[in-house]
């Protein structure tokens, strides 16, 4: 999975990326060099909260682009995991979205990754 995140990070305007579970626990990450772990976890928590609260009130809500401290954050709900991409304002969102679609389509047929997502997912009571 790290290789896929590195592939995303190669895109101009991508600052770092990570995959976490629905409890904001990071499964895999290639974070920006100048961002400490505490800040990364904080951003992850906020993104997961945003996604979970929005998906309750808005049907089929599975993607968001938010502006955060002069950065753009792309959040994608992968059903059993969440992909978060930290970007600079110059990011070409269409190019990012297509790159991510190519990668996540690959993940869907990768049994190892699917198992990892399934094991990381925390069922809500």
């Amino acid at each position: 999975m790290k290789n896929s995140l590195l592939e995303i990070n190669e895109l101009i305007g991508v600052w770092g990326s990570l995959v976490c579970n629905n409890q904001a626990e990071i499964i895999s990450s290639v974070p920006p060099a100048d961002l400490n772990m505490a800040a990364l976890e904080n951003i992850t928590r906020h993104c997961v909260e945003l996604l979970s609260t929005s998906s309750v009130s808005v049907q089929d809500f599975n993607e968001a682009v938010i502006h955060f401290q002069q950065r753009k954050i792309f959040i994608l709900d992968l059903e059993q995991a969440i992909l978060i991409v930290l970007c600079t304002p110059s990011i070409d969102i269409s190019l990012l979205r297509m790159t991510i679609n190519v990668i996540t389509s690959r993940w869907k047929t990768d049994s190892k990754i699917q198992k990892l997502f399934k094991n990381s997912y925390v069922e809500r009571l």
Partner: protein, 262 residues
């Protein structure tokens, strides 16, 4: 659910669309997209109920959207508003919108588009000029490179307000437009891009492929002969959404991402 109305703001202004939907007592959601920015306006039985774009909601959101001179729209019928954020009457809102549109017409005489770039006039004004704080903030961002839209984003202001201020500063002799700077400086996609795009898309969609590409170019308000590099990925993404099969869509996107990334 099929869109009943879809098009470009360059052809039909948002105010005209809203007047039409309102007079038709329509209920639904109007989606507006300008580059990476999006907005939504909800109507219920022809009344404006809710508007949102970025952090702006209600009347403020609606007036921001009314200021968008370029972009695409689509209306999806029978969708209820998630909330009511507009308290002004629809008639008042449309009147205010019309007043703003009239002002835009005057402004456009000097500020041709939100991509226009201005610089400080070397000769300056012949009279004493006093500036309000907001005018000073806009003036401080003018550097011969930033567009009206970029300045609005930096200052978190409505682009209409920035254009209005630039209009008055230019009229006062403090600024001048750098002729079509954004247009002249923008990078155009090469022929190879369209050759690849047409070939790969036709492979998936058949002979309708080139027609869809031309439609999307038109909806983006662009021309194939001078298509900007900055919108190439957006065009590819939009046409790829016409591919119903997810696997085929991902394959097409993979090939086109490779083309776009050179």
């Amino acid at each position: 659910m099929a869109d009943v109305l879809r098009g470009s703001l360059a052809q039909l202004s948002l105010l005209d669309i809203l007047k039409m939907l309102s007079s038709g007592n329509r209920t639904g959601r109007l989606d507006i997209r300008q580059g990476s920015k999006t907005g939504e306006i909800y109507l219920q039985n022809g009344n404006l109920i809710h508007a949102v774009t970025g952090p702006q909601i209600g009347e403020k959101g609606l007036f921001t959207l009314l200021g968008w001179m370029e972009g695409d729209f689509s209306f999806s019928p029978n969708i209820d508003a998630p909330e009511q954020s507009i308290s002004m009457s629809t008639e008042q809102m449309l009147l205010e919108g019309a007043r703003q549109a009239e002002q835009w017409d005057d402004i456009k005489e000097i500020v041709s588009s939100t991509d226009a770039v201005f610089n400080i006039s070397p000769s300056g004004s012949t009279d004493t000029v006093s500036l309000k704080p907001i005018e000073w903030q806009v003036l401080a961002q003018i550097n011969g490179e930033r567009s009206v839209l970029e300045i609005a984003e930096i200052l978190s202001l409505h682009e209409f307000d920035v254009a209005r201020i630039i209009f008055s500063l230019t009229t006062a002799g403090l600024l001048h437009e750098i002729t079509n700077a954004a247009f002249l400086n923008r990078e155009i996609v090469n022929d190879e891009f369209f050759t690849q795009l047409t070939s790969l898309f036709t492979e998936v969609m058949g002979p309708i492929g080139p027609v869809i590409i031309d439609d999307e170019i038109r909806l983006l308000g662009e021309d194939r002969a001078a298509f900007p590099q900055g919108k190439a990925a957006e065009l590819v993404e939009r046409i790829s959404l016409e591919i119903a099969n997810g696997e085929k869509r991902a394959q097409f996107q993979k090939q086109m991402v490779a083309v776009l990334r050179g």
